[in-house]
């Protein structure tokens, strides 16, 4: 258990290190996950609301597919994006493999089902009433959507937190499409795996703690924003 105690000191050391490489890794982690969730949010939240509230043919099937994709293994998401972006793949000419952009694409794939699925469940029961109320008061579709988002912010917030939680903690996808290149596409999770493979458990735990602490701070900010 020494490793865990050491991990705490290690975490402190990392944060106070002033080491540019360390900060780079932390920064990239935060940015990649954040951008992924933001991009996904813009279509996943409305999509979740629309699917949650409306009846249409094959609705149940659609919901079940979304639920299923919540179980998409990160490695598989990564692999699919890898095959698309690889030199021999259809989008190879973009030369996007092993860049942060590629990592974002893979993570969008990964977090969208979660955001859609949890949003959907959260608005299913109340959404229609809110929408009707908004309509009777002269809201247009967009305004009604926005009202639903605000009224169901607890559930939608939870969907975003769950999505961000998955993005920042997963490793399979970013490892494959990012390549874990030191100084370029290495993020906290891939660094954790590397340290673990090298047997440096203290260091792995230290990075893990840093990751959790940062995510905690992010949650505080989100909560503040939600309250407003």
């Amino acid at each position: 258990m020494d490793n865990i105690t050491n991990g705490f000191f290690g975490a402190l050391e990392l944060i106070l290190s002033g080491n540019r490489e360390v900060y780079g890794i932390i920064g990239l982690s935060l940015v990649v996950s954040f951008v992924s969730v933001i991009i996904s949010m813009f279509f996943s939240v409305p999509l979740g609301i629309v699917i949650g509230m409306n009846r249409f043919p094959f609705r149940k099937a659609v919901i079940m597919i979304i639920n299923t994709l919540m179980g998409l293994p990160p490695v598989i998401a990564g692999l699919v994006v890898y095959l698309l972006l690889s030199r021999s793949g259809p989008l190879g000419y973009l030369r996007m493999l092993h860049t942060p952009q590629a990592m974002v694409i893979a993570q969008v794939l990964l977090v969208s089902p979660i955001i859609i699925g949890v949003t959907l469940a959260g608005v299913k029961d109340r959404g229609n009433l809110i929408q009707k109320t908004a309509f009777t008061l002269g809201a247009n579709r967009c305004q009604a959507l926005w009202t639903i988002i605000k009224e169901c912010r607890t559930s939608i917030g939870a969907s975003l937190v769950a999505g961000y939680g998955r993005a920042i903690s997963e490793v399979g996808a970013v490892m494959l499409v990012g390549g874990n290149i030191k100084g370029h596409t290495r993020v906290m999770t891939t660094a954790i795996v590397l340290e673990t493979n090298m047997g440096n458990f203290d260091q792995a735990i230290a990075i893990g703690i840093v990751l959790l602490v940062l995510f905690f701070i992010l949650n505080i900010l989100l909560q503040k924003y939600q309250g407003a």
Binding site: L129, T133, F135, T136, L137, G138, A139, K150
Partner: protein
């Protein structure tokens, strides 16, 4: 705003709950709909306000028979069980104005005015969820009235109000109607209230309008036996 309904039909699970051949709400009147539970009153106003879709039939709005989409901004419904947004009373009343893009100052003015009318001035900063039943109902009324709709649909909008508030609200609605020339459709189970504010009265049963006429005629000398019985049942109270 005039409302012309023809051939309106709505079924749930094969069971017809609304079946109206012809019905016109003339512009600038207060129309009161009475009728037993489940007779289709709410369904009717929900369809008029675009919240539900009819299976058959049409509703035409205004003198030049517009479709709903063209007039949606001029219609407001106070639902039987109003949903209040989980914000302050002020924001609830301001909601529709904000949707219309009214500027901040004017919004504030209008909201305060509306709140005063329904006796809620002291409640503007309160969270809507903490209000008493009657207070909630008045918020729902205020946020509809503040929009000055051309067609105002009220579904049992005074059911939880105390007698004094009922009197106030009835006056507000009458004043609003006279001032703007709006069309008002008012659903109530309270025959005394119907007598007080109606210009025209409609009795619904089993999804049909079975009696329709001026207040005087309907209450004084109703056409059908059923109406007489319904009113008799009423007047016991």
């Amino acid at each position: 705003m005039k409302v012309q309904i023809s051939g309106l039909c709505k079924k749930y699970d094969g069971k017809p709950v609304l079946n109206i051949d012809n019905l016109t709400f003339e512009q600038g009147r207060i129309h009161v709909i009475i009728g037993p539970n489940g007779s289709g009153k709410s369904t009717l106003v929900n369809i008029i306000s675009g919240l539900e879709k009819a299976d058959h039939g049409t509703v035409a709005y205004g003198s030049n028979q517009k479709r709903f989409e063209e007039v949606r901004g001029s219609i407001t419904l106070v639902m039987q069980h109003p949903y209040l947004f989980n914000t302050t009373v002020f924001s609830n009343i301001a909601y529709g104005l904000r949707c219309r893009g009214a500027d901040k100052k004017q919004t504030e003015l209008l909201v305060k005015e509306a709140a005063e009318k329904v006796n809620l001035s002291a409640f503007l900063t309160r969270k809507a969820a903490t209000l008493s039943g009657g207070e909630m109902q008045r918020v729902a009324l205020a946020r509809a009235l503040v929009l000055k709709p051309e067609l105002l649909l009220l579904d049992e909008a005074t059911a939880n109000l105390d007698p004094e508030s009922i009197g106030i609200i009835e006056r507000v609605i009458r004043d609003f109607q006279t001032a703007t020339g709006a069309t008002v459709v008012f659903i109530t189970h309270n025959i005394f209230q119907a007598r007080r504010i109606a210009e025209r009265v409609y009795l619904m049963m089993g999804g049909r309008i079975i009696e329709e006429g001026s207040k005087e005629k309907t209450f004084g000398n109703p056409e059908s036996r059923i109406t007489r019985e319904f009113l008799r049942g009423e007047l016991i109270f």
